[in-house]
């Protein structure tokens, strides 16, 4: 499996304006909310600067002028504005917060829906973990960028601009001096933030290595003990944990250096204010309140600059997240319904492969000029070594994949002319690794046919011999199966997935090593039950257990993508070919497995 997606870029390779525009356009359908929070945060930002200015007025017009009335007015103004501020703060947190959740909800929905349309080949080459982190963490990063990122940017840039304007009003010469220092602060902040983010990324990577090391040593603890590896493992772990130590320590002190550094640069401006402002004050060019206001503006400037730098530095990784999310949304399903595709109503039909070539990877053919005809209602068994092409034949019949060349006909109709849904909803398939879903046993069986009555579910469980063990459970059908069914044994899961397929009353019944973990006794009971189910239906069975396939109409031995032998059980045994040797070897093993059981 080529893992095309596995190595993921942490950074977007270049600043992509297109991606940015596409991210912003996510807000389009909620533009009122977005406009609302931007307006409110803008108001908050301007007011923040204005409050400092009122502070100046209190000193100049109140205290220095010894004007109590004016003082009361100013405090009143401050209070009134603060009351407005309270509502604005409530508003922007509420709007942006909920919009952020909404954007994430929308993105996840879109991705999930798209995943339902993508073809099998996509899932084959894309690890589940990759898909998971697109839907979970990357979507979060994007929604954060369009809400909190936008808020921080708006607030900090407006805050700096208004502060500068007020400073210009108070004393334009001194304001110009301060203005000269702002770019220096921004530059420092951005450089720091970039490095800090880089360090923390390293820490995250090492952290997951440490978790993996714990995981391995705990799952393998018995063999670690048996091989007396404790000391060596500790040494190896200690190397990793030291690496983590150094990385986190570096990240931490770099962060600790960041604020003081910008602060010190800011206090260069403070020095200028004291010196120049002091001189101006003496000559009457600047009031005491003016000096106070300048000091406050400069001291406060640190925060908007820090926020701005943070958003800027994390922007690149958010863009990379967005690119990955969009790549998922944009990938095109390889198998789709043709425009004229129709639903034939049933696929109780003959299936024929004609000159089918198939490969998963170019240049590595799995099937080559493969021909096969299955009559309606026939039961077929596919046997042969792993990798011979048995599962591929099934994948093609289910149209999980389509032939690379050649055709597959259902009653003479190229199946590409039928809708995918019309084929797949009429096939009942039981896989060797039975996937169940969290929920009860009853719900899992019902998955086969959503409108089934409890009686029908019970009948399906009875036919597939799942009933006995279900009845022995405390809560019967209500018993929870756990995540992925992991509270049940593999054998029990196979029985349930069998019942699920039986319930679906398919036109074609497929079992891919469906009973490999079920003991022989139960299996022979299942066979009796399934006889009724299989009657009149086409069935295709892959099994290594030969008792399972003795009864079928036709056995095909598949090797290297070709049918090397075919016939019924007796004729193949007589032929003493591949089937015969498989049979004798396997038979012995099958029964030795039951040794344990017969002891009881």
């Amino acid at each position: 499996m080529p893992d095309l997606h596995y190595e993921e870029e942490e950074f977007s390779t270049q600043f992509s304006g297109k991606t940015l525009i596409r991210i912003i356009s996510l807000l389009k359908s909620h533009w009122k909310w977005a406009a609302g929070f931007i307006l409110l945060i803008g108001l908050v930002s301007v007011q923040d600067s204005f409050f400092t200015y009122i502070g100046k007025l209190i000193i100049d017009q109140g205290i220095m002028a010894r004007d109590s009335l004016r003082l009361t007015q100013l405090i009143g103004l401050y209070g009134a504005l603060a009351a407005v501020q309270v509502f604005a703060v409530f508003g922007f947190i509420y709007l942006a917060g909920i919009l952020g959740e909404r954007v994430q909800y929308d993105l996840r929905k879109e991705m999930f829906n798209h995943l339902q349309d993508l073809s099998f080949s996509y899932f084959d080459r894309t690890p589940v973990g990759w898909i998971m982190s697109r839907v979970t963490s990357d979507s979060g990063k994007i929604s954060e960028l369009v809400t909190w990122g936008l808020i921080d940017l708006t607030w900090s840039s407006l805050n700096i601009v208004t502060a500068v304007i007020f400073m210009l009003i108070i004393n334009w010469k001194l304001a110009l001096v301060v203005l000269a220092i702002i770019p220096l602060m921004i530059l420092t902040a951005v450089q720091f933030q970039k490095r800090i983010l880089f360090q923390f990324r390293g820490v995250r990577r090492l952290n997951s290595k440490i978790t993996a090391a714990y995981n391995e040593n705990i799952t393998g603890v018995r063999i670690v003990k048996a091989l007396c590896r404790e000391e060596q493992n500790l040494n190896e772990f200690s190397q990793k944990s030291h690496e983590l130590y150094w990385a986190s320590y570096r990240a931490a002190w770099l962060s600790a250096l960041f604020l003081p550094c910008t602060q010190i640069i800011g206090s260069l401006a403070l020095g200028a204010i004291i010196w120049y402002g002091g001189l101006q004050n003496l000559s009457g060019g600047m009031t005491l309140g003016g000096i106070q206001a300048f000091i406050s503006y400069v001291a406060f400037m640190l925060w908007p600059i820090q926020e701005m730098a943070r958003v800027w530095a994390s922007m690149q990784s958010s863009l990379a997240s967005a690119e990955r999310v969009f790549s998922l949304i944009d990938s095109v399903p390889e198998i789709r319904d043709q425009e004229s595709a129709y639903d034939p109503g049933t696929i109780r039909s003959a299936i024929s492969f004609e000159h089918v070539d198939f490969y998963y990877e170019q240049g590595k053919p799995v099937l080559k000029d493969f021909n096969l005809c299955i009559r309606q209602g026939e039961s077929i068994a596919l046997v042969g070594p792993t990798g011979g092409g048995k599962s591929t034949i099934i994948n093609l019949i289910c149209r999980f994949y389509e032939p690379s060349s050649g055709e597959i006909y259902f009653d003479g109709v190229d199946y590409r002319r039928l809708t995918l849904h019309s084929i797949q909803s009429r096939i009942g398939i039981v896989l060797q690794t039975p996937h169940l879903f969290s929920g009860s046993i009853g719900e899992n069986i019902r998955y086969g046919r959503l409108d089934a009555t409890p009686e029908e579910i019970e009948e399906a469980a009875r036919l597939s011999k799942a009933l006995d063990f279900i009845m022995n459970l405390e809560k019967g059908y209500e018993e929870e199966v756990g995540e992925g069914g992991n509270l049940l044994s593999v054998g029990q899961k196979q029985l349930i997935s069998l019942a699920r397929a039986v319930l679906s009353e398919p036109d074609i019944f497929i079992m891919d090593e469906a009973t490999s973990s079920i003991d022989t006794l139960t299996e022979s009971l299942i066979q009796q039950g399934l006889k009724a189910v299989m009657a009149g239906r086409t069935s295709i069975i892959i099994a290594h257990r030969l008792s399972t396939i003795k009864q079928v109409d036709r056995i095909l031995v598949v090797e290297d993508g070709r049918i090397v032998e075919e016939g019924d059980h007796l004729s193949l045994i007589k032929a003493k070919g591949r089937y015969y040797s498989l049979y004798t070897q396997q038979f012995r093993r099958e029964h030795t497995r039951d040794w344990d059981r017969s002891m009881d």
Binding site: G62, A82, Q85, L227, G271, W275, S425, D596
Partner: protein, 647 residues
Amino acid sequence: MEELFIGKVRPFNNSEPLPRRPCTAVFFSFLAAVNSAAFLFVKDKFMSELEKKLDLRSSLRLHGLAGLWSLMKGFQLIYAGAVVSLAAAALCRTATFLLLRFFVDEVLAGGFLINHLYIFASAFLGLALFEGGASFLRGKLSARTAEGLILRLRNFLFDHIQRLSFRYHDHTHTGELIERVTSDVDTLRRFYSEQAVEIGRISALFIFNLIALVSLNTTLGLLSIVFIPFILLQSIWFFNRIFQAYERYQEQEARLSSTLQESVTAVRVVRAFARQEFETEKFERENWEKFQRGRGFIKLHSLYWPISDTLCTVQMLLIFYLGARMAIAGVISPGTYMAVAGMVIWIIWPLRNLGRIIVQASSALVSFKRVAHIIKEEPEVLSEGLKAHPTRLKGHIIFNNVCFEYNRGESVLHNISFAARPGELIALLGSTGSGKTTLVNLLPRFYEYTGGSLVLDGRELKDYPIHNLRRHIGIVEQEPFLFSRTIRENIIFGAGENLSEREIEEAAKAAAIHDVILSFPEGYDTLISERGVTLSGGQKQRIAIARTIIKNPSILILDDATSSVDSETEALIQEALSKLMEGRTSFVIAHRVQTVKRADKILVLDKGRILQEGNHRSLIREQGVYRKIFNLQSRIEEEAVQGGLNA
């Protein structure tokens, strides 16, 4: 310290001579900064000593905050340095306001050093430098403490867990254990590096500024904290709820992602039943619920911030107003007003974060309890026992009425007695739960037998140091565990590093895996993991056999199961196993007739007792389970072959 800040209420336009107090404050902060700078140069040599194993088990008897303190053993001095630095930084902040007051009242209004304003400009700059330096040191020293002691804790936990007994691991969920050693440990780390320091910083700012305020004007000082209890209480109240809401939100996030994972993993089932719509609806429900919970969480936030803003603003405006009134009345100077207005901000606003931090810090106590729980478990003692142990065991084993109880009163093995002479092959038969696995697990002392005696080469098994014993015992499990390393590393995993290439290849050849390994593009350096090759069950088993061959044990324990392997591979594994058993006392949990037939001694176990004992020839003559099974199996086998021939 108080006397530093005793400033009398001074009348307007007072021109007292230069007071020394602000300068003393500056000097003090300077000293503190220099002191803490010394810690900067306490270099890594010191650290590596601290990282050395500290017996955490004996030092962790305390609970709660005392326990958190004792976990810091060895770092306490460095941490004290961080505290001194944060205090120094806070002092600098206060000093800045006092300096401002002095500048306004004495210089601008009083004319002191009026032609040398640059002195004051550089004094402000100097204070900023000290403050910056001190807060950098605070960050650095607290990081050193937190990271250092967490490094020590991580290593300790790793080692401790691999030394805990089978019993412990039988009862513990891997996921839960990993959760504790990763996220709980990280919670602790954040407690030391962030929360504790932040609580200290906020307290220091509060205390120093309050003292300065009170000493400038007692009335203003006391009035500046009237709303503080409300600010603090509502902050804690809200954050308790915010964290609960956040947890609910995170729970839903976890549910959403497991729904997603299930759906993507089971994509074949979904497609096979054409259930895309059903899945979409299921995901939609979880996604919508997540959105709803997110809203709840956001609503709390959107209430908290404006409410706490209001409280803080009211408190602040109260002081502004009263302060300004006093200044107008001439009770305080304009400079004092400016200092008060600055300091009151630093008393109020940091406090509203305190609620959040206190709530977070309280989760550290929970994490500490959970981690301490693991540490309290008794580990195996690996090296105590006989001093003069033999370098090579003969493998002569006598079980004499050996009993084993898993839990008190829950007997698993009853009075097991038999002997295995050096080099013999002992086959164990029995159904699941009959005690075969438990019996062989007694030999490497994975479990300690609870009664009777077990003698190995003439000495009681319990006298052998565990490590020494395990070095002589090789185990091949039914489903072998391989590590995500290269194939070479996996083969030499139990045998040390200094093995020649030839030895490794020979072991691989003996295990019939050499050719398979060479067929991989990177040969022996092929990585076994998700990212490397995926090995089949049979290949894994043969690598495990090679791993055991290279260990060269005197005693072998084999779980002879090949159910997941195709017939050709099975034959290869059998051959490899036969080679491995030559000349070693071997215990085989048998599944195959051939192995049993060859055994020197067959033990048929049932419910923890030996039901039958003998070799194939003697047992086949006895009435009993063995004969029944053997007859059944050979009949089936004959029928199969004959049936085929006759057909």
